[in-house]
């Protein structure tokens, strides 16, 4: 997981200050201010639009209740305060993907304020303040005939995304390393996915991040000149962009120069940030209260309902897994990585499997198959119930490990009933002592040299005789039992 971080020179002299702004699209059925479907990727361009999200003359917005609920759910998960009174504002600027010429957002009275997120970074707990979580609408998307709008000969606009509910999570400048920034994002994304409000797709931009970064001499109180970095669409990109920006800022400061407040874009292919616009070129958004929407009053009972409906969050769940199922910290973390993983694990254990066996199989072979087929267990042919059936056969000693592995790989894709397959194909493990004893005798008799070597103290020689028994049963022998019987027999003779 962890990249080898190139620690820029100069960090002994400067302290890095990073604050992140995350935009997360909400998984609501409809858009923020109209009934159009919020799913903008699977429709033909401009198919999921109506007069409201097209910004036609005369239309008015209406607030999506589900989006408000999701934002409040996020806010309570991030320990935010939820004011009773909140309102929407207009953020005015011209751009072709913004049909109304303003974005409905929240300015001075957001849905929530003053939260925090705690997470470990190289063994230490970092606490990052959350300034605010507010609700706004997404813009459309543009496809330029050319690299950028300014030099394009033409541009196509798709307004399917226009009006999709967007939650902005503004973090305090509490982060001190690119690694911490990355971990903050990983953890935040995990929580949003856990509580079912966001699908966490950085590549497609349903989870987006901008970073504010500045350097100041160690020990200094006041913040240095802030640079906003954009265009980062992976965790790796965030870390690399911040590392590159630290290096650049260090260089300027060390050379006795001064930094300018500006917005810079990360260019992945060049591995550096380039200036996009200076402070002087910054927009004056002319925020003012949205006159088409009355203020929202969120009563305490509503907020409490949202809090009560919150699922167990990953950190708490991992802790419980360690205590309840006796798992290691590592296993607990792996098995609670996603809410689906954790649910699967608890379903397996709930079906009567031993906690250790379920953990080993789920985090081992099952995870490998999920990765290989790019398909989580829940959507595989086998499914959670199928896996439980299969593992019960292992747990009961009906089939041996290698047989189970083979069956798992087959059923993961094709699906089927493990019990029926084991019965029909006669895959049940041979664990009859009488039957195996005869095969053990035959194996010793058939491999006299190996038997002699083993008796002379050569432990590896046992392998040849084990294989002979295994082959004689068509791979179905209970191998731990075979091992024991062979050792007993060889000691006797």
């Amino acid at each position: 997981m962890t990249e080898t971080a190139t620690i820029p020179a100069g960090l002994d002299r400067y302290e890095v200050v990073i604050g992140l702004e995350v935009h997360a699209q909400l998984l609501t059925r409809s858009k923020m201010f109209c009934p159009c479907p919020a799913d903008y990727t699977s429709a033909a361009p401009n198919e999921n639009t109506c007069p409201v999200c097209l910004g036609l003359p005369g239309v008015l917005p209406t607030i999506n209740q589900q989006a408000v609920e999701y934002t409040v759910r996020t806010a309570v998960a991030l320990h935010c305060d939820i004011p009773v009174f909140t309102k929407f504002d207009r953020k005015n600027y011209f751009y072709p993907d913004l049909p109304k010429g303003y974005q409905i957002s929240q300015y001075d009275l957001p849905l929530s304020v003053n939260g925090h997120l705690e997470f470990p970074v190289v063994g230490e707990t970092v606490r990052c303040g959350i300034t605010r979580v507010h609700l706004e609408e997404d813009t459309g998307t543009m496809h330029h005939a050319g690299d950028v709008l300014q030099s394009a000969t033409s541009s196509l606009i798709d307004l399917n995304r226009s009006g999709v509910p967007l939650m902005e999570i503004v973090g305090e400048p509490d982060l001190r390393t690119p690694e911490a920034a990355r971990e903050y994002l990983v953890r935040l994304r995990q929580i949003l996915m856990y509580i079912g409000v966001n699908d966490g797709n950085l590549e497609k931009g349903s989870f987006r991040c901008d970073a504010n970064i500045s350097l100041r001499p160690r020990g200094a109180q006041e913040l240095g000149v802030k640079v906003e970095v954009k265009n980062m669409n992976s965790f790796r990109a965030v870390q690399h962009a911040l590392e590159s920006e630290i290096e650049r800022q260090c260089g300027v400061l060390d050379a006795g120069g001064t930094l300018v407040q500006e917005t810079r874009g990360w260019v992945e292919t060049q591995g550096r940030t380039i200036s996009q616009r200076s402070k002087e070129q910054a927009h004056d958004y002319r925020y003012f209260p949205e006159p088409d929407l009355p203020p929202l009053h969120l009563d305490a009972a509503f907020v409490e309902r949202m809090r009560a409906a919150l699922p167990e969050l990953p950190e708490a769940r991992a802790l419980r897994f360690r205590e309840q199922y006796g798992l290691s910290a590592y296993d607990a973390a792996v098995l609670t990585d996603t809410r689906e993983d954790a649910d699967t694990y608890e379903a397996l254990v709930g079906s009567g499997l031993s906690a250790k066996l379920a953990a080993n199989w789920q985090s081992g072979d099952v995870a490998a198959l999920a990765n290989e087929h790019r398909m989580p267990l829940q959507h595989s042919g086998l499914g959670v119930d199928g896996l439980a059936s299969l593992l019960r056969l292992v747990d009961a000693g009906t089939i041996n490990g290698p047989t189970a592995k083979e069956l798992l790989a087959e059923l993961y894709v094709a699906g089927g009933n493990p019990e029926a397959l084991v019965r029909d194909r006669g895959l049940a493990q041979v664990s009859d002592t009488t039957e195996l004893s005869a095969l053990v005798d035959a194996a010793i008799a058939g491999n006299p040299a190996a038997a002699a070597d083993f008796r002379a103290g050569k432990q590896q020689a046992l392998g040849q005789m084990m294989r002979a028994v295994k082959d004689a049963t068509g791979g179905k022998a209970d191998m731990p039992l075979v091992n024991r019987l062979l050792r007993e027999r060889l000691a006797e003779q």
């Binding site: 036609l56 003359p57 607030i63 010429g101």
Partner: protein, 487 residues
């Protein structure tokens, strides 16, 4: 013949003496006859109207008892109201050729009631003006004197009713745009409580002030139309959820025992003597009807104009950002995006619209917001509170609608003197209270309007006071020269 009212026409439709098609043909003929002079219409919706007249005829034949009184009655819509597939320009070049793909709520309610839409009426561009001289499609003539303005911004809607072409029309009122032209054209014009009529489908000028309302020849007709368009709309979050009191139920209850307030600030030096005399005569009529009149004070009236000209332009600067040439309306093709924006908006908007966009942009700018927009909102609250205080003393306010009668076209070429036209109407918009203008006399053959204002959601009370006054006088029965000529 005196042009007939909705009530009379509805009866005629039911006793078989006329048909929706005949009424439509009559209205179309009157429009044809008068509009070369008046320029009240931006488009005549012949196909839509004929279709609606046929449908109304069927409804009246099949369900005469349950059919709305508006069924089969011709009407006209201010061109800021969207109708599916019908060109809607808001009086602006920038929306030339724009056909909305949907119909607004208030209009749809009238259509559902069986209304027959004769056409879209001329208005000041994006409803910004008090004379309809700011229309990109030429000014509208006042049917009482073609050389004079009909008022604005809903000048076309007022003029067509005054010319006797249709018994009613819809306008919009942001600072007086229904009441002032009603006064100047000698018809009834009603601005309901903010939030009482859905704004969905109304091309926004200033969202927190805009309200749709009717022009009619009588208060009863205005009440009928208001009853049909009022009520909560899920598409407009600022529309009021509580039910609408039937405006006809209390219409004839009279003013006996009512306390009526005359704001001393509304009869200031700017009021023309003739207007003052007509309005004071109207006060005496109301007194004779049993009302008690008393002087009241709305001290912030003088600053209300300034407040209005910060808030309305601020909202307009944002509301009009969507006219960028990208998706609809006119576009001036240029190589770069910025040039396309500048040229499209430069060519598409008229001077008054540009002036207000600039004013509003400035008022919202970083560093000026507190001094202008925030301060204006504070004073707006004060204006509302003053109305509330006055309404503890009196049941309604009576005053002039406009300080002057219709003025000659081109006579008010500086914006400030034009802005003064709305000094006594715009406070009602700032406070969100309902107001009506009802004919109350003539000065040199030009109509004067009496304004009645009541507390929020007391729309029925406004109509009741206006009706009592109207029934005691006959100014509303005098046809304009155009109405008599066309008949």
């Amino acid at each position: 013949m005196t042009p007939r009212t909705i009530t009379e026409l509805a009866a005629a439709l039911r006793d078989g003496s006329t048909t929706p098609q005949a009424l439509l043909a009559d209205a179309q003929a009157r429009v044809e006859q008068t509009d070369k002079d008046l320029n009240a219409y931006l488009s005549v919706t012949r196909e839509l109207a004929e279709h609606q007249a046929d449908a109304a005829a069927r409804t009246l034949e099949e369900h005469p008892e349950t059919a709305s009184p508006l069924c089969g009655i011709p009407m006209a819509l201010k061109d800021v109201l969207c109708v599916d597939g019908i060109e809607t320009t808001a009086g602006s070049k920038i929306l030339s050729g724009f056909k909305p793909p949907y119909t607004g709520t208030a209009v749809q309610r009238l259509f559902d009631a069986g209304a027959v839409c004769v056409g879209k009426t001329n208005c000041d561009e994006f409803a910004m003006g008090s004379s309809t001289e700011n229309s990109a499609y030429g000014p509208v003539g006042n049917p009482w004197d073609i050389e004079r303005v009909p008022g604005g911004s809903s000048g076309g809607s007022a003029a067509t009713v005054a010319a006797g072409s249709v018994p009613y029309s819809l306008g919009t009122d942001t600072g007086g745009s229904i009441r002032q032209p009603a006064a100047l054209c000698g018809v009834v014009g009603f601005k309901p409580t903010y939030g009482r009529v859905s704004r969905y489908g109304l091309i926004a000028f200033a969202s927190s002030l805009d309200q749709i309302g009717p022009f009619a020849r009588t208060v009863e007709d205005a009440a009928l139309v208001f009853g049909a368009i009022a009520g909560h709309d899920p598409c407009d979050s600022t529309s009021e959820p509580r039910g609408v009191e039937d405006p006809l139920a209390s219409l004839r209850a009279g003013v006996a025992g009512m306390r009526l307030g005359i704001p001393r600030e509304y009869l200031g030096e700017g009021t023309e003597p003739g207007v003052r005399a007509s309005v004071e005569a109207a006060f005496r009529v109301l007194e004779a009807q049993g009302a008690t009149l008393q002087e009241v004070s709305l001290p912030s009236t003088d600053v209300a104009l300034s407040v209005y000209y910060v808030i309305a332009p601020a909202e307009c600067s944002s509301n009009l950002a969507r006219y960028d040439g990208v998706r609809f309306g006119s576009r001036v093709e240029r190589a770069s995006l910025t040039d396309m924006y500048l040229q499209t908006r430069g060519a598409g908007f008229g001077n008054e619209v540009k002036r207000r966009i600039m004013l509003g942009t400035y008022a919202l700018s970083s560093g000026y917001y507190d001094a202008y927009y925030r301060q204006a909102q504070k004073v707006r609250t004060l204006v509302s509170q003053e109305f509330e205080a006055v309404f503890k003393e009196v049941d309604a306010i009576v005053c002039p609608t406009s300080p002057s009668v219709a003025f000659p076209m081109g006579s008010r070429d500086d914006p400030l003197s034009m802005y003064m036209c709305d000094a006594v109407t715009l406070p009602a918009n700032l406070a969100g209270v309902p107001g009506i203008s009802v004919p109350c006399g003539f000065v040199d053959g030009l109509p004067v309007g009496l304004q009645v204002i009541a507390p929020r959601f007391e729309d029925a009370r406004v109509l009741r006071v206006a009706h009592a006054y109207e029934q005691a006088t006959d100014f509303h029965t005098v046809p304009s020269p155009y109405a008599s000529r066309a008949a």
